[in-house]
């Protein structure tokens, strides 16, 4: 099974500060990789580098068969990134934002409605300006755009933050379905449980490198108590 992401000795420098310091990382199709680490360890930088948004100073970086250091524009539209920001326009409605993303990524705009409906963004909510939405609703809009796009590689930075338990469940079920069809998910999270989303691997980032890489030997059982806590809004 070939790697969708293959980073070898990757160095990324921001200003004068190295944020990835010779990082080696591989991920194949159908994997859910949980990326853990302390604040400032380089988790978000890893996702940005994989998305082709961080300039790779040195090393070999191949994503979806493309040298992302040399030709990031060739592959970006096939990657779905959900970061701390939703990339949304406040003066556009939820529906307009999702449709714009689909057009920008050359995806099918007719998929917008179904994706929004799956997250409860129907009726008045769909026509509401993003500026008037709560943090959780904005996150849903960004997620709806991602779900409608159906990227091959999902890069999710704290995707469960701000979401209610029902939406978390929908997100997890959708991601599990995509992964079963060969999509790959890189998930950055500080949470110890991720609902029904069960990582196949857990990598720990520290000092801009992978310091541990653990393959799950068996599926992690769902912890109902933790899911209930997540649903009550205890977000890390």
């Amino acid at each position: 099974m070939g790697s969708l992401v293959s980073f070898k000795n990757v160095i990324v420098i921001s200003g004068n500060f190295p944020i990835l310091t010779g990082l080696d990382f591989e991920a194949g199709p159908g994997e859910i990789v949980l990326v853990k680490g302390r604040n400032g360890a380089g988790k978000t930088s890893l996702l940005r580098a994989v998305a082709g948004l961080a300039r790779i100073t040195r090393g070999s970086a191949n994503v979806l068969g493309v040298d992302i250091a040399a030709n990031p524009a060739d592959v970006r539209h096939r990657i779905g990134l959900l970061g701390h920001e939703g990339f949304l326009y406040e003066d556009l409605t939820a529906s307009e934002n999702v449709r714009f993303v689909l057009k920008a990524t050359r995806s099918d705009p007719s998929k917008a409605e179904a994706a929004m409906a799956s997250l409860g963004l129907t009726g008045r909510l769909g026509d509401l300006k993003v500026a008037k939405m709560s943090a959780g609703q904005r996150k849903k809009v960004a997620l709806a755009a991602l779900l409608a796009r159906e990227p091959e590689l999902w890069l999710l930075d704290e995707p469960h933050a701000s979401l209610d338990s029902w939406t978390r469940g929908v997100l997890d079920a959708t991601l599990n379905a995509k992964v079963s069809r060969g999509a790959t998910v890189l998930l950055v999270s500080h949470e110890s449980h991720h609902g029904s989303l069960v990582p196949t691997r857990t990598v720990e980032v520290g000092g801009g490198k992978i310091i541990s890489d653990t393959h799950a030997t068996k599926p992690v059982p769902l912890d109902p108590l933790a899911v209930a806590e997540q649903g009550s809004g205890n977000v890390a």
């Binding site: 998305a51 082709g52 524009a73 970006r76 990339f87 326009y89 556009l92 920008a104 990524t105």
Partner: protein, 221 residues
């Protein structure tokens, strides 16, 4: 690239229609500039009619600073500009889309502003083809240079002060050539072979080319 440009332009114009920043803030500002300069110079109709082209283009230049700043600021909220890169939108298309959007807004503003100039200063308008074509290329040049420098300034913490500092000197050929072309248009010597019009065309073409080539590098930092 053109597909992306039209997508960005349509999105920006929709946002402008919702926010009405140009209509409610930049247009009144441009009128204030016209009125204040009239007070500062002379209130006699002869003098104002004579300097009308210069004051018009000065008001347009100042307005363009706000227009291009707004066009780039749209993309800084919620890191939307980074989102465009993440979606694989062509940076040249982003540049051209911004130029088209600001051009449409600025050209409409100029029509209102021209009416204001006629009412306030009373110049004898003539040479409409030269006026229109020189306004087209002057506006295009202002937008192309403005969007490029606005994106460049947006990375700075002092972007509000840096943009006019960068743009106003760079755009001074537009101010000069636009003024001279309109003075020629108002005179009996109006001709589409006007040398000032040629300067405006060269300025617009050069900045469109520079922006399309370098905007991606500026955007990606």
């Amino acid at each position: 690239m053109w597909r992306d440009a039209l997508l960005i332009a349509a999105k920006d114009l929709k946002i402008e229609l919702r926010s009405k920043v140009t209509m409610n803030q930049i247009l009144p500002f441009a009128f204030v500039v016209l009125i204040v300069f009239a007070f500062a110079l002379d209130t006699s109709p002869g003098t104002l009619a004579k300097v009308a082209p210069g004051l018009f283009w000065l008001a347009v230049l100042f307005s363009s600073v706000f227009g291009v700043d707004r066009a780039v600021a749209i993309e800084t909220n919620d890191s939307a500009g980074e989102g465009l890169l993440a979606y694989g939108v062509d940076p040249g298309g982003i540049f051209l889309g911004k130029v088209i959007s600001v051009f449409v807004q600025l050209f409409l503003l100029e029509i209102f502003l021209l009416l204001g100039v006629v009412v306030l200063y009373g110049p004898k308008i003539g040479g409409l083809p030269l006026m229109a074509i020189s306004a087209f290329f002057a506006t295009l040049g202002l937008c192309a240079a403005g969007v490029t420098y606005s994106q460049l300034a947006s990375a700075s913490r002092a972007k509000q002060t840096l943009l006019p500092l960068l743009l106003v000197p760079v755009a001074s050929p537009v101010l000069l050539a636009g003024t001279k072309a309109w003075q020629d248009a108002f005179s009996t010597a109006a001709s589409l072979g006007d040398p000032w019009l040629r300067l405006l065309i060269v300025f617009a073409v050069v900045y469109l080319a520079l922006g399309a080539i370098f905007f991606g590098s500026i955007l990606e930092g």
